[in-house]
């Protein structure tokens, strides 16, 4: 059994599609599979992939490939996760690219990583207005809200959305994280976000830190 989780982690870290495919099948054939260990292997594996992306060993195409493959595997394993959900409520995350901006690749990878870490992700897509963010937080009660801006001309729409959440007394109900080439740590502080991640790889450790673990 130990090997199954190690194998999964290795398949992810090496972006080995064949190995991942065989692990996918093995998991389904293993009635006693430990979902927590499965999620942990995925998270550790994806974190390592993220580090390899950051260091220049892996490229975006490879990141999208493994993110998609793992999301597909998790989809296949859904019945296992659902069994667990009865005992524990699944945490929700709302994500979106802000108004005026359609750049969504980084946001999509963050979404895949959150899904792979066991979150239910509500992806609002791109060009998302402040009102839409407010509505989604009101309706879904997420623990995390992720907003992305790639353009220097659209980053102020992050502030607009956070201000709208404050007006609706929803700001403190959720941890707000931001990312994208147009923002940085200072900007996050200035607009009262809870955290900033420079890339998709940094997002999961940041969320973990903000939530005090998963």
């Amino acid at each position: 059994m130990v090997n199954l989780y190690q194998e999964l982690q290795e398949a992810i870290v090496k972006i080995d599609r064949d190995k991942l495919e065989s692990v996918k099948k093995k998991v389904l054939k293993t009635p006693s599979v430990d979902v927590d260990k499965l999620v942990e292997s995925i998270r550790t594996g994806l974190e390592e992939v993220g580090l390899k992306f950051e260091s220049g060993e892996y490229y975006l195409a490879e990141l999208i490939l493994i993110g998609t493959e793992v999301s597909e595997a998790v989809e296949k394993w859904k019945p296992l996760f659902e069994k667990k959900e009865v005992k524990e409520k699944v945490k929700k995350a709302v994500i979106g690219t802000v108004e005026g901006d359609i750049h969504d690749i980084g946001k999509n990878i963050v979404g895949m990583m959150l899904v792979s870490s066991g979150f239910e992700v509500i992806d609002l897509g791109n060009d998302v207005t402040a009102d839409k963010f407010v509505k989604a937080v009101k309706e879904n009660h997420p623990v995390v809200l992720g907003m992305s801006a790639l353009l220097s001309t659209t980053r102020d729409n992050i502030k607009k959305a956070i201000d709208a959440l404050k007006e609706n007394e929803l700001r403190d109900s959720v941890k707000i994280i931001i990312g994208g080439a147009a923002v940085d740590d200072d900007f996050a502080k200035a607009v009262d976000a809870d955290g900033y991640a420079a890339n998709a790889a940094e997002t999961i450790p940041l969320v973990k830190e903000l939530l005090g673990g998963f």
């Binding site: 490229y59 975006l60 195409a61 490879e62 490939l65 060009d127 220097s152 001309t153 890339n199």
Partner: protein, 390 residues
């Protein structure tokens, strides 16, 4: 050195020689300045071409025409003259876009775009989702023999040549890119996945796309080829951090098509090749050199590995660079004196022994005040004279 013509000046820097001064590109494709179209919905505050014209106190400036990036293609000649601009751009004509009731605009390849924020963005890839080879065969490809592609091209290039001695860069608009068109037609993530999970379909679509583009380019370049100095390729290949694909993947999946594209263009013209590429693409530069690219535009300095020093050190004797003045932070947020100091630094590094064209690292964005644009343009004249100081 006596004053050279733009053609002589640019030819020297491409050959890694020092002319009278560093050539300047401004007002061209991806080196121009933003302006909001009159018909734009949800108008917001911005700085644009109009502010630059007003700041410079110019009266009776010609009505600005905009390219697909909402940037001005006919910058007032008085600005180009004053700041020593050496380039002019010839755009291929395109089929008339179709307007849809939902506010989207359908352009070539069935791409739907719509105004978002300050730009037209792709909103609907015509070949998205699950497709087969048959869908590619049945796709409503543009007709390369559509007379629009060659319409008045020869007259326009001759007029251009007569009215100014600036170097002519020709753009076979939207036919000079395969990576980007694939991404738009099929979806960006889908393209990257397809390349790795379904290479057969990937190659079939890329070949089909390039075959159509070759036909369009033939219609255009056979009319203008003998009168132009550069043929333009517009392929963005990188994020802020690294290329979209690994250098190995580039070599395997994309380079053969870029090679074919460049060889095709060269059948109709002796022009040199200018490749526009945003992002952190340093790991792909050896391939670009190998493909015979002469100028790499636009050198985005905040992207990883794209700083002036390391590029000049690694590739300075093999490739001519254009751009390098940051439009992401410096130009919108910097003070004029900071902009001048940075331009001086970039010119002195990249301009050493030729091999550099002074230009912004992309179009000037709508959050850039006009005094900052002027500081950049002035710096080109002030610090660009050879011999460059230390």
């Amino acid at each position: 050195m006596a004053r050279l013509s733009p053609r002589e000046r640019v030819e020297m820097v491409v050959n890694h020689e020092e002319p009278d001064r560093v050539p300047v590109d401004f007002g061209g494709m991806n080196t121009s300045i933003y302006e909001m179209p009159e018909w734009w919905p949800n108008k917001t505050e911005y700085y644009g071409y109009k502010d630059l014209v007003n700041f410079l106190g110019l009266k009776d400036t010609p009505k600005p025409y905009l390219n697909s990036g909402n940037c001005v293609i006919n910058v007032d000649d008085r600005i180009l003259e004053k700041y020593g601009v050496d380039f002019q751009y010839l755009y291929m004509s395109m089929p008339k876009p179709k307007m849809h009731p939902d506010g989207t605009i359908e352009t070539i390849y069935g791409l739907k775009v719509k105004p978002v924020g300050y730009y037209l963005e792709v909103y609907g890839s015509p070949l998205a989702g699950k497709i087969t080879i048959k869908d590619i065969d049945d796709f409503n490809w543009p007709d390369p023999e559509d007379p629009v592609f060659s319409a008045k091209a020869r007259d326009r290039v001759l007029k251009m040549k007569k009215s100014s001695d600036r170097v002519i860069v020709a753009l076979a608009s939207f036919a000079e890119q395969i990576f980007q068109n694939y991404a738009w037609i099929r979806g960006f993530s889908q393209m990257l996945l397809e390349m790795q999970r379904n290479p057969e379909l990937f190659h079939y679509l890329t070949d089909a796309l390039l075959t159509v583009e070759e036909g369009i380019m033939e219609s255009f370049y056979s009319e203008v080829g003998e009168h132009i100095d550069f043929a333009y390729i517009a392929e963005d290949m990188g994020t802020q951090q690294s290329p979209f694909v690994s250098p190995k993947q580039y070599e395997e999946y994309w380079k053969p098509y870029h090679k074919r594209m460049i060889e095709h263009i060269k059948q109709f013209t002796d022009a040199r090749i200018m490749w526009h590429c945003c992002g952190a693409v340093a790991p792909l530069i050896p391939h670009m050199i190998d493909l015979g690219v002469d100028i790499l535009q636009v050198i985005q300095p905040l992207a990883k590995g794209m700083d002036a020093e390391s590029l000049k050190k690694s590739f300075g004797d093999k490739l001519c660079f254009e751009g390098g003045v940051d439009v992401q932070r410096l130009l919108p947020k910097g003070k004029p004196e900071e902009i001048k100091a940075e331009c001086k630094r970039v010119i002195r590094i990249l301009g050493k022994s030729g091999g550099y064209v002074f230009a912004p690292a992309h179009n000037i964005q709508p959050d850039t005040p006009p005094q900052n644009v002027v500081a950049m343009l002035e710096a080109g004249i002030e610090f660009g004279k050879y011999p460059l100081g230390k």
